[in-house]
């Protein structure tokens, strides 16, 4: 039998947890507002013809590819057309079982090239390195399969420039994506990493790998994820940037200083959240050695990605993200409350651990406890009603504030009808979708706790929005 005191304590625990969680996000929101306002003001003249550019540092674009036969050629073609003064594209064929390598060879007239490959980071064996006879800035590394992290490490080893940008082969970029994401490196020499906002491409029109026009998806599940991405990026990450406490830079498009990444040992192979884990390790490494550094988030939408349109695929993706988060945090526990941890160790890490790592567990248990206690008559209708009201209210205010930030800055969705749809989604997502997400994340947490890899499944991309490109499956979903 549970004593009344315990039930009272549990009620208050869940209630205060919900209030604490959401208040934290609201604070982040305020920080994001300040950052966003300044960013928009500072870049208000960027669209003038005589913008101050042309002297940006050279960048190596690293494109890991595994079984991307259908889309790799168009992806690489788009990457070769970026508006950036000096860059190279390195495609890493990670032991694909389909015709990825043949497609690359055929499309770009590749020839084997005798390269003095510098193995700064240990990787699976490299079979051969090719150069394109049509595009001097394109190289292809053909290697044994070792996963995305291993492919990126091989790309780092082969890269010739001081900055590298990891790009998913199916990422949709804008022509000046690189220019925008390199800005923090120009502004501060201590910058070691920068990332930008990833948006959802479903419903958009994409031609030759570039975004042509923005639209809303017809699929309801993808629509729900638009607001979710706004929340995740516009304040989930931007809010941490002024505190130099950004813990995640999306693997879909992130720029790094090569020497810093090599110094920490490159990407880890033993985690599904290699992008987050690397950023956390960069924080830890620099903080422990008291080396000045900056990890920056750029609010500009620089990369677009396809969101899952079926519950099964979405569930797999969320379970996988949760597992990646758990691994990244536990692999970098040394940062938590370390005397030199600074804002990442004393604010961002505890926040992430309490609200993102353990969050699904407390949220789901909280909901289950309140509903079952109410059903059994242990909790009064009044207390239950107030709990639900708080949960709904905070969920609503966070989504609306993300939409408000968007409206104050980029107006990506220009039509009034699109805004009306998003406003409706902001309300609807609180009735079931968010709770379902918590359930999936809890499942991911449990799988991680039991060290079970589970069945992560494949991320099926339809690429319906992409003109002239057939639908193709890919097996590596990007983490926002």
């Amino acid at each position: 039998m549970i004593s009344p005191e315990w039930i009272i304590a549990a009620q208050w625990f869940f209630l205060l947890y919900f209030i604490g969680l959401n208040s934290g996000y609201i604070l982040l929101n305020l920080l994001s507002y300040q950052s966003l306002k300044r960013y928009v003001e500072e870049h208000s003249l960027d669209d003038l013809p005589r913008s101050l550019s042309g002297f940006e540092p050279p960048v190596s674009l690293l494109v890991p590819a595994y079984n991307e036969e259908a889309t790799i050629a168009s992806s690489v073609r788009s990457m070769l057309q970026m508006n950036y003064p000096d860059y190279e594209v390195i495609v890493i064929n990670d032991g694909s079982k389909d015709g990825t390598m043949e497609a690359l060879r055929r499309e770009f007239a590749l020839v084997p090239f005798p390269e003095a490959y510098w193995k700064r980071i240990e990787t699976k064996p490299v079979r051969a390195i090719y150069r394109s006879t049509r595009h001097p800035s394109l190289r292809v590394i053909d290697k044994d399969n070792g996963g995305k992290a291993d492919a990126l490490n091989a790309g780092i080893n082969a890269s010739r420039y001081p900055l590298f940008c990891g790009v998913d082969a199916d990422s949709i970029l804008e022509r000046d994506s690189l220019k925008r994401v390199v800005e923090p490196f120009l502004e501060n020499p201590h910058t070691i990493a920068s990332g930008g906002t990833v948006r959802i491409a479903n419903g958009c029109v994409v031609d030759n790998g570039f975004l042509v026009s923005v639209g809303l998806p017809a699929n309801f599940l993808a629509l729900l994820q638009i607001v979710e991405y706004l929340r995740a990026f516009l304040f989930g990450r931007l809010g941490w940037s002024p505190l130099n406490a950004v813990l995640i830079i999306s693997g879909a498009f992130g720029l790094f200083r090569k020497d810093s990444v090599v110094a920490v040992g490159g990407y880890r192979h033993d985690t599904v959240g290699e992008d987050m884990e690397l950023v956390m390790r960069l924080h830890r490494w620099h903080r422990m050695r008291r080396i000045p550094y900056r990890i920056v988030f750029v609010p500009d939408p620089i990369c677009w990605t396809e969101a899952p349109e079926s519950l099964r695929v979405l569930k797999n993706q969320r379970v996988r993200w949760q597992r990646g988060l758990c691994e990244s945090l536990t692999l970098n526990l040394g940062l938590l409350f370390h005397p030199r941890g600074g804002a990442p160790g004393w604010l961002a890490f505890p926040f992430m651990a309490l609200f993102e790592w353990l969050g699904p567990l407390i949220e789901v248990v909280g909901y289950v406890f309140m509903i079952s206690a109410f059903a059994m008559g242990i909790v009064s209708a009044e207390a239950f009603f107030i709990f639900m009201l708080v949960a709904l209210g905070f969920g609503l205010i966070l989504s609306v504030s993300a939409l408000l930030l968007e409206e104050l800055s980029f107006h990506i969705y220009p039509k009034p009808r699109q805004l009306a749809v998003l406003l409706a989604v902001v309300i609807i997502e609180n009735f079931g979708y968010r709770q379902l997400n918590s359930l999936w994340r809890l499942w991911g947490l449990l799988l991680w706790m039991t060290r079970s890899k589970g069945k992560w499944g494949e991320m099926t991309r339809t690429a319906k929005w992409q003109t002239g490109t057939p639908a193709a499956p890919a097996n590596r979903p990007p983490a926002p």
Partner: protein
């Protein structure tokens, strides 16, 4: 355990929500338990806040649509007049409403930056006639950074010397964006009077991105830039307090006449022991008379100095440097080997066949691989 009555509930929530009926006072819905009442009010405040924000999003969008509509009309009115400046300055100009001042300045600057020669002068005349001076005079001190920035840029294009002091003050502003825009405007107004002073500011302001500074100085051209840059670099190198500024200044020398800077670079190089200064200076060496000095730096302990030394050898080295560069192919640092291979390829009177022969007899496999890559690159180019 189940509780039989509401009065037995743990939180003493013995007042379940009353039935919603007409005439029920608001206080009846508020929990009696003080703690729960606080939570209730938090929830109400949060939901009310959400509704207000929803309304704000909606109003912002309406405002945006109306603003865009007004701007379209305004631009439709002004665009033909600005385009006419290609041939002449229009005589009759409409007024610029306060709400459209920013839009006008942006449109005007856009045209100015897209046109050259007489069209540019006509556009400045048009701005004078339209009262742009008065607009930017107030805007330059605005609290909105967007307006400040555009006013500063406009002042530069107007060539308005009466705001010289204001712009000089803004060059010292904490915001790199605003201070750089002010520096550029000063150069637009009078580069000759600004440049020498501005280069000392550039040397000191490490928060100014070099890429942006380079883009601004490139607009000035090497003729005007070379002498003040050399003078500032030499002066900075002469003092312990400012020697750290030298690499930054030497990096800008790429935009100047490097051959005219050669004597100064030589003087800096022989005087300094700072690796960063040496590396920056080696990048600029063009005179074969510096070869003995250059060769000595290939043995420097700092690998970045060694890289710049071998790269310089690739530019001005002689056939007799082949032995030295071949030895550098076995340097402990990969990047030194990389650049040594490319320097070997670039040496005068060196054929691919000779390089193939060198590669064949190299005892160090890493050195041979590096040279093989450079040779393949040469063949492919």
């Amino acid at each position: 355990m189940a509780y039989a009555t509401a009065s037995e509930l743990p939180l003493k929530l013995d007042r379940a929500l009353p039935a919603i009926s007409g005439g029920t006072p608001m206080s009846a819905y508020i929990p009696q338990d003080p703690a729960l009442a606080i939570v209730f009010w938090i929830a109400v405040a949060v939901i009310a806040g959400s509704v207000l924000m929803l309304a704000l999003v909606f109003l912002l969008r309406i405002n945006l649509i109306l603003k865009q509509r007004r701007e379209r009309r305004f631009i439709g009115q002004w665009q033909p007049l600005l385009a006419e400046c290609i041939y002449r300055t229009p005589e009759i100009l409409p007024a610029i409403p306060t709400a459209m001042q920013y839009a006008f300045l942006k449109l005007w600057i856009y045209h100015l930056e897209s046109m050259k020669g007489a069209a540019g002068r006509n556009l400045v005349q048009l701005a004078n006639a339209a009262g742009v001076h008065e607009i930017v005079r107030d805007m330059i001190h605005h609290t909105d950074l967007r307006k400040q920035l555009i006013a500063v840029v406009a002042l530069g294009y107007l060539g308005d010397k009466t705001r010289w002091h204001d712009l000089r003050m803004l060059v010292t502003d904490a915001s790199p964006m605003l201070s750089l825009a002010a520096a550029r405007a000063l150069l637009e107004i009078d580069a000759a009077a600004t440049l020498a002073w501005l280069i000392t500011v550039i040397a000191a302001r490490e928060d100014w991105p070099m890429a942006k500074v380079s883009a601004i100085l490139k607009e000035i051209g090497p003729d005007r830039l070379t002498l003040p840059l050399i003078a500032t670099a030499e002066s900075a190198a002469a003092s312990e307090d400012t020697v750290h500024q030298v690499p930054r200044l030497l990096r800008l020398m790429d935009l100047a006449h490097t051959e005219r800077a050669a004597p100064a670079v030589h003087r800096i190089l022989v005087r300094t022991s700072d690796a960063e200064v040496i590396a920056a200076a080696l990048r600029l060496l063009q005179d074969p008379r510096d070869l003995p000095l250059l060769r000595a730096f290939t043995g420097h302990e700092n690998w970045i100095v060694r890289i710049n030394a071998v790269r310089a050898l690739g530019r001005i080295g002689m056939p007799e440097d082949r032995k030295l560069l071949t030895d550098m192919l076995s340097d402990e640092h990969w990047w030194v080997r990389y650049h040594a291979a490319r320097a070997l390829i670039a040496l005068p009177f060196t054929t691919i066949q000779e390089l193939d022969m060198i590669r064949a007899i190299l005892p160090d496999p890493y050195a041979a691989d590096m040279l093989a890559e450079a040779i393949a690159e040469k063949r492919a180019s």
